[in-house]
């Protein structure tokens, strides 16, 4: 999860100051010129659904800023959160390329700016620019890893504390983007974190309080800073 917020939301891709930090958007000048000309920039309010599981995949979405919850719902109405997508992440790519309906639901958990590109426009863009298709492959490879990672997180961490610690470290490191301070915006409720960590809401609240008392993390409003990543890392072992 990337809790990084652009103070000045980019109005176009050519003048985006964050482009070099984003895997997909970091294109050659020729590819960037064409990329800038396709799709539209859209703002979404918190709670807005970008697409729903089972919908025909008509667009690919690139998050410019903000966070989006990727989830799936069972027939009996239980929702399972797979990941929190952040700036630079592509959504709907696998469904568009595989020509199947969306496998998941994407919902903004804070105000977002998203570049929305029509399916055919995106496919044409990929076929014109090798670098774009290579970046798309890397994005898909990342999605593939996320799915496996999710299975691993639930299956390989024996304790609820370990699974929660792994989630916090993943989100923190993703948001830190190599910077020493591991700080991110926690836009999920304890119930939603519990869903991702495969535990109960009560356990998440108790463990976060415990981590805070032990001074491993600091929580200020919706901002969380990981002070002692090594201690959290030990829990995941």
């Amino acid at each position: 999860m990337a809790g990084f917020h652009a103070h000045h939301p980019p109005e176009d891709c050519l003048n985006c100051e964050h482009r070099h930090l984003r895997m997909f958007c970091n294109l050659t000048p020729e590819a960037l010129q064409e990329y800038d000309g396709i799709g539209i920039m859209m703002s979404h309010a918190r709670g807005a659904k970008l697409f729903t599981e089972g919908d025909p995949a008509r667009n690919v979405f690139v998050i410019c800023f903000g966070q989006v919850k990727i989830s799936s719902t069972s027939r009996d109405g239980k929702t399972m959160i797979l990941k929190i997508a952040g700036p630079g992440d592509l959504m709907g790519l696998s469904a568009v390329l595989a020509n199947v309906p969306h496998e998941v639901t994407a919902e903004a958990i804070e105000p977002c700016q998203v570049k929305t590109v029509r399916k055919q426009e995106f496919l044409d863009f990929l076929s014109h620019h090798g670098i774009a298709s290579m970046h798309a492959a890397q994005a898909l490879s990342g999605e593939y890893l996320t799915v496996f990672h999710d299975a691993k997180r639930l299956a390989l961490s024996g304790s609820a504390a370990g699974r929660l610690a792994r989630l916090l470290l993943d989100w923190g490191r993703s948001a830190a983007n190599g910077k020493p301070e591991i700080r991110f915006t926690m836009a999920l409720t304890h119930e939603e974190i519990a869903n991702m960590a495969g535990t109960s809401r009560e356990t998440v609240t108790r463990l976060l309080n415990q981590f805070r008392r032990d001074q491993w993390i600091v929580i200020r409003g919706s901002s969380m800073t990981i002070i002692k990543p090594d201690q959290l890392e030990r829990l995941t072992a």
């Binding site: 020509n99 199947v100 309906p101 298709s133 492959a137 593939y144 496996f148």
Partner: protein, 169 residues
Amino acid sequence: MQSERKPEVGEAAPRPLAELLACPSPAADLLNASAQSVEFTSGETVFRQGATCRGLYVVASGQLQRRADRLQARVVLGSIHAGELVELAAALGNGQHTYTLVAQSPGSLMMLPMDSLHRAFDMYPPLRMHLLEELAREVSRAYVSCCATRKAGMRRRTTKMSVTESTAI
């Protein structure tokens, strides 16, 4: 006129290998000439998760198992059989293996080395798109499978909690 049938979630079936790797003569000749055979015996680790990917593999014979390892724990991600592509994600993505591949029976793989694959992409760009689409189908199937597994787990946990609660009462 017959209307086009709407595809359903989880219907992203893999395409035949011959269709995926089909390309005109210069690129096809390059891939054929550079293909290497990798023999394996039962129990042998073909590659490890996180290691550098040498190329795109196709199972020629035998059966292998995909495993995700972390410390002493292991998750089996499924088996791979003859005719299946192995590690599209690594070959097209960041070049690192996404899982560990272990042989369950003796057999062999055909490996298309990474540099030949990239040269073939330059000669015939649709080849990359075909493989990209196949990777997307693989990701789509992984999503469906992961969601089904987790939903089953959620049901088990709910059932277990109910039993515990009723016992406690």
